[in-house]
């Protein structure tokens, strides 16, 4: 078990009256209004000022006209999970502004479009009415562009109120409009108009204050899907089959961009093939066809696509074909909430397809791990000759995360057990595709095109014996299935190992995985600081579980297992793996509103169960 160090105390505590570098800004707009550029300018400004940030987009399944919220969190302690409370609201959506304001905690601040007349709603908030239309008109004479430029006004207003450094705002803006200097000038004028207006109208700074610190040096900001795509790029992927689906599309779109840029020969030829398939079934089929041929192939999808791929995944498992499948989870069942986040596919993916199947499932918790798992998944798929899943989610995949830069893969690619023509000559042609020569359940394969009379074998999803011959014999079937189980068991210690994120002798432990990690880290601090409950924290990063998971549970009296799904899917996988005696120590904590988990909800839920389990001191 390895240990990671968490260094979150990056700055001194703020003066109690103000929220120095520790608050969240929520921008409530209508989707399709171009507010994303403004939000990214805010995000990057804070980041450039050295303040740890995270950016989360809560968007509808719609092209234009429905409400969307973007939340930027500044956290001097480096927390990058979602913060439950909104401290600073920018209310621009007439349809939601009243609810948005009513949902705030007392003391919060509100920038709003003046005609919305929100200040009468509550008396315990600080209001900043801004006449957006009046301000934008003089800086943007072309009326049809105003809709796009208008949102930059709030950047200027917020910059003044929270004391952003204007040179950093400009730098962030120019970065955003790198290729469009004219648009940058226009938007800069809008920001300045908002800034000047606010300076005159609101001379008092807000309680949400920003101040340069040193919390982002050397860090990058990236979405998990871009990180996963980079992982595939550096894993040497050559075939990509995909079908668009939210929230996974951007992974393959990033990957295609990277491949076009970095994977052409000097003569301009492609060392990759990307196919937008007719559906997810075909996408998965292409990956298996390519994997059978010996290529590194990937697809990326979300829940509904996983459902469609299930038949092919069973083929990949039984015929033992390497494949890498990213599942960027969204809320199911069925179409569910397509633009909200969940960890609801875990148990489905673990044994996807009919009959007895068991897959290898990687569970990245950070953008760095989306990259690392991207690289590792291909090695594992070829080593174990089986489909490997990388389970990310919408929160991790589509939101902006701060991270240390990724590290270049040091290990050479592992292409697994492949017999060449030369090997076959040495073996005098005596081999069988599914013979367990090494006792690890993994056979040797040959690749189509291998120039030896004995190289060819027949791949099939129907019953087969150790020599890949069609067989309906019970003994052949059992031998094959038992070997597949051995192979899977053997993978336990080869997958990304569980991380002991925090140790404690309290006897109370927490197991979490995936994007829950970021809220979990903060929730642990809350419990320790507020109620003296010091939980040990193990972060699981793959299924099947390494043996250290059982060791962790054995050292605890109670272990809270946190899932972002209704049924406690990780809890049940652990229960099945640990057996009834150790399993009795597990307690399930579930969050499944579709929003990224926040620390407060986690610490409240764990504390409530803990209070029931033992009398409070």
């Amino acid at each position: 078990m390895s240990t990671s160090t968490l260094d979150r105390d990056l700055a001194p505590a703020p003066a109690p009256a103000s929220l120095l570098n520790d608050f969240s800004i929520q921008v409530a707009t209508v989707n399709g209004s171009g507010s994303q550029s403004s939000n990214l300018v805010l995000l990057h400004t804070l980041f450039q000022m050295g303040i740890p940030i995270s950016g989360k987009n809560l968007f509808p399944s719609n092209i234009a006209g429905l409400p969307t919220w973007y939340t930027i969190r500044a956290s001097r302690r480096g927390y990058i999970g979602r913060k439950k409370e909104i401290d600073f609201l920018i209310a621009l959506n007439p349809d939601t502004c009243r609810d948005d304001v009513q949902g705030l905690e007392a003391g919060a601040s509100v920038i709003y479009d003046e005609p919305l007349k929100l200040s009468a709603l509550r008396s315990d908030l600080t209001y900043y009415p801004v006449p957006f239309d009046k301000l934008v008109a003089p800086v943007c004479p072309v009326a049809k562009l105003r809709k796009l430029v208008r949102n930059m006004i709030y950047v200027g207003v917020a910059a003044h109120l929270t004391c952003m450094e204007m040179p950093e705002v400009e730098r962030a803006l120019r970065r955003q409009f790198k290729t469009k200097p004219k648009a940058a000038d226009l938007n800069w004028a809008a920001i300045q108009a908002g800034y000047s207006f606010a300076r005159e109208q609101f001379p008092q700074p807000d309680r949400c204050q920003l101040q340069r610190m040193d919390g982002t040096r050397g860090q990058i900001v990236i979405e998990g899907n871009a990180a996963g795509a980079l992982g595939c790029l550096f894993a040497g992927v050559t075939v990509v089959g995909w079908y668009p689906i939210t929230p996974s599309s951007s992974l393959c779109e990033y990957l295609i961009e990277y491949l076009k840029r970095y994977r052409r020969t000097p003569g301009g030829e492609a060392t990759f093939a990307c196919v937008q398939a007719e559906d997810e079934l075909a996408a998965c089929g292409m990956v298996l066809g390519a994997g059978w041929m010996g290529a590194r192939a990937v697809t990326s999808t979300s829940g509904p696509g996983i459902s469609l791929m299930s038949e092919f995944v069973g083929l990949g498992y039984y015929a033992e074909i390497p494949a890498v499948i990213f599942d960027i989870q969204r809320v199911g069942p069925s179409t569910g909430l397509p633009t909200r986040t969940a960890q609801g596919d875990l148990s489905f993916v673990a044994t996807l397809s009919h009959g007895d199947t068991r897959h290898l499932v990687l569970l990245p918790g950070t953008v760095q791990e989306c990259f690392d798992c991207g690289v590792a998944a291909f090695d594992l798929a070829e080593r174990f000759q089986t489909p490997v899943f990388v389970l990310s989610d919408l929160d991790l995949g589509m939101n902006h995360w701060m991270s240390p830069p990724f590290t270049y893969p040091e290990k050479p690619m592992d292409r697994g057990k492949v017999l060449t023509a030369e090997d076959l000559r040495r073996l005098k042609g005596d081999w069988g595709r599914y013979r367990d020569v090494d006792g690890d359940g993994i056979g040797y394969r040959t690749l189509p095109g291998t120039d030896h009379p004995a190289a060819a074998f027949f791949t099939r999803g129907s019953g087969h014996n150790a020599d890949a011959k069609y067989s309906e014999k019970g003994a052949d079937y059992i031998a094959n299935m038992d070997r597949l189980r051995r192979k899977w068991e053997g993978a336990r210690e080869h997958l990304p190992a569980p991380l002991l994120e925090h140790d404690s002798s309290s006897g109370v432990g927490v197991i979490a995985y995936g994007s829950t990690h970021h809220g979990m880290v903060e929730a642990l601090d809350q419990m320790r600081e507020e109620t003296d409950l010091d939980c040990a924290y193990l972060r699981v990063r793959a299924w099947p579980f390494a043996r250290s998971v059982a060791e962790f549970v054995r050292r605890c009296q109670r272990v809270y297992v946190v899932d972002q799904n209704r049924d406690g899917q990780m809890y049940h996988l652990l229960l099945a793996d640990l057996g009834p005696e150790l399993g009795a120590r597990l307690r399930s904590v579930r969050q499944y509103s579709g929003l990224p988990v926040d620390a407060r909800s986690l610490s409240d839920a764990i504390r409530a169960q803990e209070a029931a389990a033992r009398p409070l001191k």
Binding site: I220, I222, L233, T238, A273, M293
Partner: protein
């Protein structure tokens, strides 16, 4: 060696092909299909065509879906890699396989159920991409393995063995292939040795998607009176659009032909496909004309065979994607893993 059923080389076999292999090297396992099944005849023609064309079995892959037809690849070219995949989804497996290794020749075998019902979506998209692949439908109008239900290529009014009459019109896979973008579309009959062998050889010389619908009677479930896919019906109603012959590039014998009655098409490898006009004037480069003759044949109840469409100019999918010459599957790490500097560059852009 357990994976091949070919006769040992010690058997005296004077007759070898142009790459020095005997015909037995192109055979597969013993068929388990019914005696008299049209599919077995198609396997024989594939063996003949590959032997005569001197196909290197190691450089050849055979893929299939599910059904009687899809079992067939086990029964030919035992020295070639095979993949019996899932129902109706062979096209996607083939797509991934061909893109991963563009240097191998690929042949897919499907059936009418596998193609025209469960696999219709993948079938059409395969044609649309013009993937270099020979796609054979072994078409008998029924589901054999599940005991004789109609498939979507069963003709309107055709009678099932149980007496049930088909009340839905047939899908014409050749018309669909022409419409969808295949560059070589033909129909043949498992019992027409000469025509089928010639078409298969031409298929082996083509770069792009070749779609051959082969009417292949099911002797067990669809060979009765009232069936439009029985041997008797097809023999009585087959109408050949042209007389098809093939002159391979390696054959330097010049065969005369009359340009007034015979169309000569030069294939990608320099071979010649010769189509001698029979009843009507027909231009296989004209897709609209193909659709017209297919529609007319449906109306008259004829089983029209021949080469309906041929385009030797359209780039195939591998060319469209601009792939390197070497198989993607075999590119070394130095080529497929970008250097450290690339990661540094990307990271710097995210700072």
């Amino acid at each position: 060696m357990p994976t091949t059923t070919s006769t040992p080389a010690s058997t005296p076999s004077p007759k070898v092909n142009r790459i020095g292999l005997p015909a037995t090297d192109y055979r597969g396992a013993k068929t388990t299909l019914c005696a008299g099944c049209g599919h077995n005849a198609i396997s024989e023609r594939i063996i003949d065509a590959c032997f005569e064309m001197g196909i290197d079995p190691h450089r050849f892959v055979k893929l299939s879906g599910i059904g009687c037809s899809s079992k067939a690849p086990t029964y030919f070219l035992g020295r070639s890699f095979g993949f019996n995949s899932v129902h109706g989804r062979m096209p996607s497996i083939a797509t991934g396989a061909v893109l991963a290794n563009r240097t191998l020749q690929a042949l897919g075998v499907s059936g009418d159920g596998d193609t025209a019902s469960i696999g219709l979506g993948q079938f059409i998209h395969l044609m649309r991409r013009n993937l270099p692949l020979i796609y054979i439908i072994e078409d008998n109008g029924v589901y054999g393995l599940t005991k004789g239900q109609f498939s979507a290529t069963a003709d309107l009014g055709a009678k099932q063995k149980s007496g049930v009459i088909n009340e839905l019109p047939a899908l014409d896979t050749c018309a669909l292939a022409v419409l969808s973008g295949a560059t070589f579309v033909a129909r043949s009959f498992s019992g027409d040795k000469k025509q089928l062998t010639a078409i298969l050889k031409a298929a082996l010389a083509h770069r792009g998607t070749v779609m051959i619908d082969v009417i292949s009677p099911c002797v067990t479930f669809n060979d009765h009176e009232g069936s439009t896919k029985s041997y008797k019906y097809v023999l009585e109603h087959e109408e050949a659009l042209q007389e098809v012959s093939f002159v391979p590039a390696f054959d330097d014998i010049a065969v005369d032909y009359d340009p007034g009655t015979t169309l000569d098409v030069t294939m990608h490898d320099g071979s010649h496909l010769r189509l001698r006009k029979l009843a009507q004037d027909f231009d296989p480069s004209n897709g609209q004309q193909a659709l017209d003759v297919l529609t007319a044949a449906h109306q008259s109840g004829e089983v029209l065979t021949g080469v309906f469409y041929l385009d030797t100019t359209k780039p195939d999918f591998v060319q469209q994607l601009g792939l390197v010459g070497e198989p993607l599957a075999h590119l070394p790490e130095a080529v497929v893993r970008p250097p450290r500097a690339v990661l540094d560059e990307v990271m710097a852009s995210l700072l």
